[in-house]
Amino acid sequence: MKIHVNGTAQEVRATTLVAALVELGYGEARVATALNEAFVPATARAAQGLEPGDRLEILAPRQGG
């Protein structure tokens, strides 16, 4: 299915958030996730299903002021 990952449309086979992160190469990465503008804690990723058109944000630590 096609979902939007950090603003870019991408095809994924995964049907859960945790599987999508592995498929997209973020398996062990230090990231936080939000799906359709709602925070999804790491502990909830396995139970979080995906639907076509979902908007996934994957954020990591960055410089800030």
């Binding site: 973020y26 398996g27 062990e28 990465a29 954020l59 990591a60 800030g64 002021g65």
Partner: protein, 258 residues
């Protein structure tokens, strides 16, 4: 030293981590200044495992000081609240520098959104450091919402203009004498940080003034020394200024020579 939500910090300087010419320059600025808190943010990760986020996080951990994640760039309550939750998980801290921006050009806080977000996040267990204005009514409402720290701006972010509204800042300080207060944003020179201390503020938070200096480490140290000087002056109970001159050398015993 200031105590924020029960944690005493080691310095009155809170330093941002953005815009440095290199990671080495960043680390050196922190080392020479002895900054007590590092502010950080979170952004989209494109690199997957081993991406830029991991390398940055390792460098920040090596600084060995508490981190204060921000919600920089958020213009709505929903964005800020979601970002705060993501930051708490990512950085493992319930501290959040809450920014809800109301105007794109001035980066002025949106007081209404800020208050609403502060109320939500305090209820969610966050220890909120609100980036606010010098408005005393808003300050009072933020405290009622659960904030135990106020961070009024000196001037708009990144301008280096210093303390734009001395009266307003002095008034805010006087209204809430026991609340830890941090001048957040707008400082450009150490003298401005010293003035913030002389007004009785507890700390300053800055980034651009150090990161964009020709020698960031030297500027960071300059700020640290200015903060010490300003705080000493504040604690020394400064003289009252007056309009008319008053000779410091005794007049009594002055020779009559004409």
């Amino acid at each position: 030293m200031p105590i924020f939500y029960g944690t005493e910090v080691t310095s009155r300087l809170m330093l941002g981590t953005a815009q440095y010419p290199s990671p080495k320059a960043l680390a050196e600025a922190f080392r020479r200044s002895g900054a007590g808190i590092a502010t950080v943010s979170l952004r989209r990760e494109a690199g997957g495992e081993g991406g830029a986020g991991e390398a940055f996080w390792q460098m920040i951990r090596d600084l060995g000081i508490p981190v204060l994640p921000n919600t920089a760039g958020c213009h709505s309550v929903r964005e800020a609240v979601t970002t705060a939750h993501m930051a708490r998980e990512l950085f493992g801290t319930d501290w959040i520098k809450l920014e809800v921006i109301g105007h794109a050009d001035t980066l002025q806080p949106d007081p209404f959104g800020l208050l609403e977000a502060a109320r939500i996040l305090s209820g969610d267990g966050f220890k909120v450091f609100p980036y606010t204005t010098e408005d005393g009514v808003l300050g009072g409402r933020l405290l009622e919402a659960g904030c135990e720290v106020l961070m009024p701006w000196g001037a708009p972010i990144g301008t280096g203009l210093g303390l734009n509204n001395i009266y307003g800042l002095r008034s805010l300080r006087a209204q809430f004498p026991d609340v830890p207060m941090v001048i957040d944003a707008g400082l450009g020179l150490p003298s401005q940080a010293a003035m913030a201390m002389e007004l009785g503020f507890d700390a300053v938070l800055l980034n651009t003034a150090v990161a964009k200096a020709g020698d960031p480490a030297a500027m960071a140290e300059g700020f640290a020394r200015a903060l010490e000087a300003g705080r000493l002056a504040y604690e020394a109970d400064p003289m009252e200024p007056r309009d008319m001159a008053a000779p410091s050398t005794p007049v009594l015993g002055l020779a009559v020579l004409e």
